[in-house]
Amino acid sequence: MLFQPAIIALMLASGLAALLVLASVPFAWTVVRRWNLADGSEAQLRMERRTYLVATLLKIVMAAELAALVLFVFNADRMATLFTGAMCAVGTLKVDPWGFPTLYLKLAVFFLAGCWLVLDHVDNRGWDYPLIRVKYAALILLAPVLVGSAVVQGAYFMGLRADVITSCCSTLFSGGGVTVTSNSVASLPHGLALSLLAGSLAAVLASGAVVLRWRRCGWLHALLSVAAFVIGMSAIISTISVYVYEMPHHHCPFCILKREYGHIGYALYVPLFVGTVCGLGAGIAGWAGRRPSLSTMAPLVARSLAAWSVGGYALFGLVALWLIERSHLILFEVVP
């Protein structure tokens, strides 16, 4: 393992998070089975009190997991100098077979944690905790993902070896250099990628407007958000990154995060992620509005989340447009 400060911090954070979530699973199970607000027994009272503790702990853990994703990617990019042939985060993640699974799991944890936080937020708006069973059942489902993410991340960091430390005593080629290749997404035709992106953004903005105006169809907005996320990521890899690098064959989704390109990637990813998470949240809040005790509060939450989501996607679209506009690369030529 590498004794990197950021690695130690990440392991510490995800280890503690996994431990805490695991520790709250038995309590979650009790809540799912025994929760009864009408009951005035000692056990029920104790359970009600403990929900505050568990909810607070989980809020901190989820917030930490959201921050950990950013730290993870940033650190992977930084560590690229340590490995032969690695030039950005892709190289660092490919050093060990667990690298990309760690990233995907962290992404999953990011979105699931975001959804759980929305669920918790909405639940606290109702006087009778109408979603408490759903919330804790979701926690039981979330626990394996969180623990899995911590374990896989541990395996990844343990497997990291900077084999060049011995370079002074060996000859120079450490062998097995890392190849940076793009996957099949990169070969998506530029025209198709951009039209899909424009279409999905228009759809997600329209559905967001529906939620804002009439406070309904949150589920549609959530579905479209997921679609827009997938299409947005594909468009970044296949076309937008190409415009940033001004090189037709460089498709890396990580290099745009680097200082050479002014960290411009964050301006793309942060709005996209915020838009998606808030879009999903709007769907959840909209669904929660069917509970009688939430019928006035949940739509309000759904509305403000939809507003954030629409803002995120709009910003993402504008940044993408601006990047294409300022680029010197010409992919489409209009024949006069």
Partner: protein, 377 residues
Amino acid sequence: MPVWLNRQRALLDFALSSLGRRLGKTLGLAVVYTLIVAVLASVMLFSHAIRREAAQVLAGTPELLVQRLVAGRHDMIPAERLDAIRAVRGVKSAEGRLWGYLFDPAAAANYTLMVPADRVVEAGSAVVGSGVADVRGVAVGDLMSFRAHDGNLVQFRIKDVIDNDSALVSADLFLVSETDFRRLFGVPADRFTDIVVAVRNPREVRTVAEKIDAALPDTRIILRDEILRTYESVFDWREGILLVLLVGAILAFAIFAWDKASGLSAEEKREIGILKAVGWETSDVIRLKAMEGTVVSLGAFLAGYLLAYLHVFHWGAALFAPVLKGWAVMYPEFQLTPFVDELQVATLFFFTVFPYTLATVVPIWRAATVDPDQVMR
């Protein structure tokens, strides 16, 4: 949004006044917190600054280094290898270097003897680094003599002392002429210590290295990038080890924070009881306590980071320097260039604020769920 902001402002106001009412306790916690942050931040700032220093020094060095190996050990390289290397396409220049180490029994220190490429030193004279001048107490015009490989004395008159600005690389330097070097160590005229190669196109460094490797199988080739990477790893590793050792301190701090947060005075309990009696909910009390924690955390984090900055860049990192930079008889004096790295700050935040927050959650919850009638009675 303004409603939300106003609410937070009112909470913050209340939290500040509540912290102020227990000034002694708050300050005690803040001081320990600040010290913890300062210690961790010092380690990070120092090792980061020294890594940058190494990178800057190495930036001016040639891309490739060719050394001859005999039976796995470094050996003097024959001059005719220069032609073989210069014949490789893409090589801009290849120069033989003469350098080595000399143990001076009078100072009990090792000097780096070198024949400089960028300045002329006349036979019989020498230019020394500031460390050498200090340890032997010599100045310009003085004489120094060493026993050569055959036992004869070789004398040098000090012509110049390299100034302190470049002490990191020049403290132990002893620059001599080529004839003196060969006489001192008995190196034949057609041998060099190693060969430095400059490459025209930086992207071709690896290819050029491969070609040299193929043409001269008895050599090893060292890339500047690899040296850089090794430095990076070594300092990362040292920093990591120190941090792991300090995890004990973080743990102790977390226990301390837990203890401080759970030792509620009767006064505080009454306060919470009254708040709940006038209509505050459990979640409001938790929010208030969390706000107090945030204020202490942020204050201690900023103060600690500032303290670390002063410690490392103004007071020479007196606490950790020996562990992090290693040591030598003639260790150079040098001032580090201040540099703050965003990744570092984020990492430090995870190391300190996260454990503190987690440690205080349970005590806060305990305090927030007390029954008002129980504590007010």
